[in-house]
């Protein structure tokens, strides 16, 4: 079965993207590349990366892109989200960051950015920047398991791949349960529910990327550009 590469948080860094593409081309036997958002950011000019994503070079894996938090801020500020503007960015980093973001992306790319999807469902997996609750939902290994289970339940998937936290982690729901008692006008009933065997996976950001094999459920975390024998931290 096809192996997936999952990347995020490039924030205009074409070199990081090229390093990942080189890794994938030479060693990883991957045939699908998912880019879970934040391809743009205010730190550097993002146009070269945006052009490369839209027009891959020979030998590049074709990227399947979602929008992330930074795209959401830019789209809002450019008027693609109704009356909303980049309020979250303005509040957290100030007006200068909003200006820098506007400068970092040529308006010619806006239609491509506006056409990006919120998430992908592949097999029994959800691929999102944050979660189904919101693009800025930052899920990490220390998030409440109750909240993580909720995010999985909302999508009704067994694997949720998320990028917002920037961390690489695999969190398996391994056991537990809850007792529910409902009383209504028809009477009373009890129900015992077990925790489903589901997982939330943080895919990393920038040169930190993830390879997933849906056939075997094997997951490996990598850092692009490092020596092959040191790269893999895998577990099935």
């Amino acid at each position: 079965m096809a192996r997936w590469a999952l990347i995020s948080g490039l924030r205009g860094d074409l070199e990081a993207y090229e390093a990942i593409q080189t890794d994938l081309r030479h060693t990883r036997r991957v045939d699908t590349l998912f880019v879970l958002g934040d391809v743009i950011g205010p730190e550097r000019e993002c146009n070269a990366l945006l052009e490369r994503l839209q027009q891959p070079r020979r030998g590049d894996l074709q990227p399947h892109c979602l929008y992330g938090w930074w795209e959401e801020q830019l789209l809002a500020e450019r008027g693609y989200r109704g009356g909303r503007r980049a309020d979250a960015l303005r509040l957290s980093q100030g007006e200068a960051a909003v200006d820098a973001l506007l400068q970092a992306v040529d308006p010619a790319h806006m239609n491509w950015l506006a056409a990006l999807q919120f998430g992908f469902i592949e097999l029994d997996c959800a691929l999102l920047h944050g979660s189904s609750a919101a693009v800025d939902d930052s899920l990490g290994p220390d998030s409440s398991p109750l909240l993580l289970l909720d995010r999985l339940t909302r999508m009704d998937v067994n694997r949720l791949f998320t990028a917002r936290s920037g961390q690489q982690f695999r969190l398996e729901l391994s056991g537990g349960g809850i007792e529910s008692q409902v009383r209504d006008l028809e009477g009373q009933r009890q129900h015992q529910q077990s925790v489903p065997q589901r997982q939330v996976i943080g895919i990393g950001a920038g040169v930190h990327y993830t390879i997933y094999d849906p056939g075997s459920d094997r997951l490996d975390f990598f850092i692009a550009g490092t020596k092959p024998k040191q790269r893999a931290r895998g577990f099935a």
Binding site: P145, R170, G176, I178, V182, F235
Partner: protein, 276 residues
Amino acid sequence: MAHAVISCLHANLAALEAVLADIDQQGIDTITCLGDLVGYGPQPNEVVNLVRERQIPTCQGCWDEDIIEGLNACDCSYPSQLAERRGQLAHQWTADQLSEENRAFLASLPMSLWRDRQLFVHGSPNSQHEYLLPDMDAFAALERVESAGAETLFCGHTHRPYVRELRDGSIRVRVRQTPGEPAGVAEAEDRELRLPLRRIINAGSVGEPRHGNTHATYVIHHEDTNAVEIREVPYDVERTCRAIVDAGLPPIFAWRLRHGFEYAERADDASHVCER
């Protein structure tokens, strides 16, 4: 002390009068309303006036919100185009009828009310449009209460009253994450979260019951014992049905009041959160 919670009045004056009389008869003077004062029914101004006269603390329901902000519910609210058309017709009729004063009152309603660690909302803490049905996923139900920081969540919106207790819960997780530098296979760490006891109390519906009976429903919470009583109150259903037809509202609204259930406007996906 006893505390009455009512919800989903839906412009049904006869039902509201009967429920308030039932509450008064029991000497209860603390009442909270979970919204949807208007919509479907024929007496929006009369019902809002009565809630205002009685100075009942009220949070805003989905119908109240839509009347103020314009009808923009996503199609999750309706299982068919016919049902959606009826909903739009009722919305327009209600918007035309409502006085400016009552419109301003609906606009002033908060999304939620708190009393100690009791939270009062229309649908869920996430959205006025989210249905917390009695059999929805227990962990998801608990998450709604826990993430809001409440011990007991009072809600409405489903038009079916119930009391749900979620207890003896736990979630075990195994976490594997990488250190900052490449260094072999990641270590696994096992953790367990013990979940607290939490309750969801759905007040049912005063003005448009959907529990299989024509009686209006509401709940009484006895705070000293923490007991919850689900009350059914008979009222003059025919009076409201006649007013619906006389007002020119869709006759199906009268039909379902006479039967106490309906399928037309029920959204079944309890986990769905309207993304308008």
